[in-house]
């Protein structure tokens, strides 16, 4: 058995984190991307910049700010304590929040591009057919943005699996709670357990390649459908 029980635990935890992050991100990113694609508001530029920030900032910056913000004296920590949730650093929920922030641009951008490419016509047509805006959004816009939605989901999932710096800084390396595959590999390398590190690292490499291959194939088949 190449994978130890700890490794399997880390793999399961990583999959759970990535899946939950993806679901929550799509819920958050869809309205945000819709608004960004269609608004003429002067807030569009600053919000775009804000959403894109995690793409540019080093994970150490995000991790550091999250650690301080989630701490008992930070704004997020004060809020969660007031709500009776306690402090979220070193918890799975804390990691989930970190992952959502970290992968936000990977969910918003493909969706936004899909909505922009669609233009305003489909929604206008739907409106003339007396569809309510919400109805039209779910029956016309969202299906048309399908490939964008799928790309957003795949990228969010893969990017969360590949997350390292943020987890290292706010996780606390607790088995089954915050010790994901990437930090587990790091631990193995530092402890000179190269065999275990190789198995997990190799698995990660194969997984990432398969995801990107799937994405590329998906884009190609989608391009063929388009005129």
């Amino acid at each position: 058995m190449p994978f130890s029980p700890e490794a399997l635990q880390a793999i399961w935890l990583t999959a759970k984190l990535a899946a939950l992050t993806t679901v929550l991100l799509l819920i958050i990113a869809t309205p945000l991307a819709w608004w960004l694609a269609r608004t003429g508001s002067r807030w569009r530029a600053p919000v775009t910049a804000l959403v894109t920030l995690p793409l540019v900032l080093p994970p150490s910056v995000l991790g550091f700010y999250l650690l301080v913000a989630m701490g008992p004296n930070g704004p997020l920590g004060q809020l969660t304590q007031a709500l009776g949730w306690g402090v979220l650093s070193f918890t799975f929920t804390g990691l989930l929040i970190g992952s959502i922030v970290f992968s936000l641009p990977f969910a918003v951008q493909p969706l936004q591009h899909a909505f922009e490419a669609m233009g305003t016509r489909p929604m206008e047509v739907a409106a003339t057919l007396r569809a309510s805006p919400l109805d039209a959004f779910f029956t016309v816009a969202l299906p048309q943005a399908g490939p964008g939605l799928l790309t957003a989901a795949i990228l969010s999932f893969a990017h969360t699996v590949g997350e390292f710096g943020v987890v290292l800084m706010i996780g606390g390396n607790i088995p089954g709670v915050t010790r994901v595959v990437s930090t587990q590999i790091y631990g193995h390398v530092e402890a000179m357990e190269y065999t275990q590190a190789h198995w997990l690292a190799g698995g990660m490499l194969v997984f990432s390649f398969v995801v990107l291959l799937a994405l590329a194939l998906l884009r190609r088949s989608h391009a063929r459908v388009l005129p």
């Binding site: 650690l67 004296n73 606390g172 607790i174």
Partner: protein
């Protein structure tokens, strides 16, 4: 143009080579603060410049084995230098400091001076360094095991990748208390802030911190000078002021 660049380069290299040497040093995270002071003093006294990298000893081991360009390693333990010597990566090992473990909280009054706080366990999170990677983490586990509270504490433990990260968890209040190196919370003979319990030496094996001259530094006069300088009386004073034994 290229010629001019080259001659400038040669000039620079020879200027460095003549007297003021440079030594690159991998330093265990717990020794960060004293080493910064020692390096400044070293440069003032000898003209040699010590370029410092701080991190986990285990990480440095992997990097050195894979060709990292360090002249000297100041490890957090004595095992890693011994293993490096066995691997043929260097020699002339010496103990430069003996580390002390402290249970520390940023909150004044949380940690009592007998460590009773560990038994009462009125806290959410206790931070320690990963015992697999960091000698201070291993010492912490040894101490709580001997106190018989390891199993009770286990659900509250969070691990830093090295002792610097462990300190960061406690300093930001994300963990109410944690086992850190005395050198991190001690300066000029007193506790910098918060409350602390100096863990008795009888509860854990001594943390002997060894230095080793690596192959790359063998012919570097600045590396030899640094190792000699570390054994001097002036440095002994600095090391003691940060709460290490010698």
């Amino acid at each position: 143009m290229i010629k001019r660049c080259l001659s400038v380069l040669v000039g620079l290299v020879s200027a460095v080579g003549v007297q003021a040497g440079e030594v690159s040093v991998a330093v265990a995270a717990n020794f960060t603060a004293p080493m910064q002071r020692i390096a400044a003093q070293f440069e003032a006294d000898t003209g040699h410049k010590a370029v410092l990298s701080f991190g986990a000893t285990g990480k440095f081991y992997a990097q050195i084995k894979n060709g990292a360009p360090f002249d000297v390693l100041l490890a957090a333990d004595d095992e890693t230098p011994a293993r490096l010597e066995k691997d043929g990566q260097g020699g002339s090992r010496t103990t430069y400091a003996i580390g002390k473990l402290v249970l520390w909280s940023k909150q004044p009054g949380l940690v009592d001076d007998r460590g009773e706080v560990l038994k009462a366990a009125r806290f959410e999170r206790l931070a320690l360094a990963d015992p697999k990677l960091a000698p201070y983490g291993a010492a912490a586990v040894e101490a709580v095991t001997r106190l018989g509270v390891l199993d009770a504490l286990r659900p509250k433990l969070v691990q830093g990748e090295n002792i610097a990260q462990t300190y960061q968890f406690v300093a930001t209040g994300n963990a109410q208390l944690g086992f850190v190196a005395l050198s991190q919370v001690w300066a000029d003979g007193k506790l910098k802030e918060g409350s602390a319990w100096l863990v008795p030496g009888s509860l854990y094996s001594p943390i002997r911190q060894d230095a080793i001259l690596l192959n790359k530094g063998k012919d570097n006069p600045a590396a030899a000078a640094l190792l000699q300088y570390l054994r001097g009386a002036k440095v002994a004073g600095i090391i003691r002021a940060y709460g290490y034994d010698l």
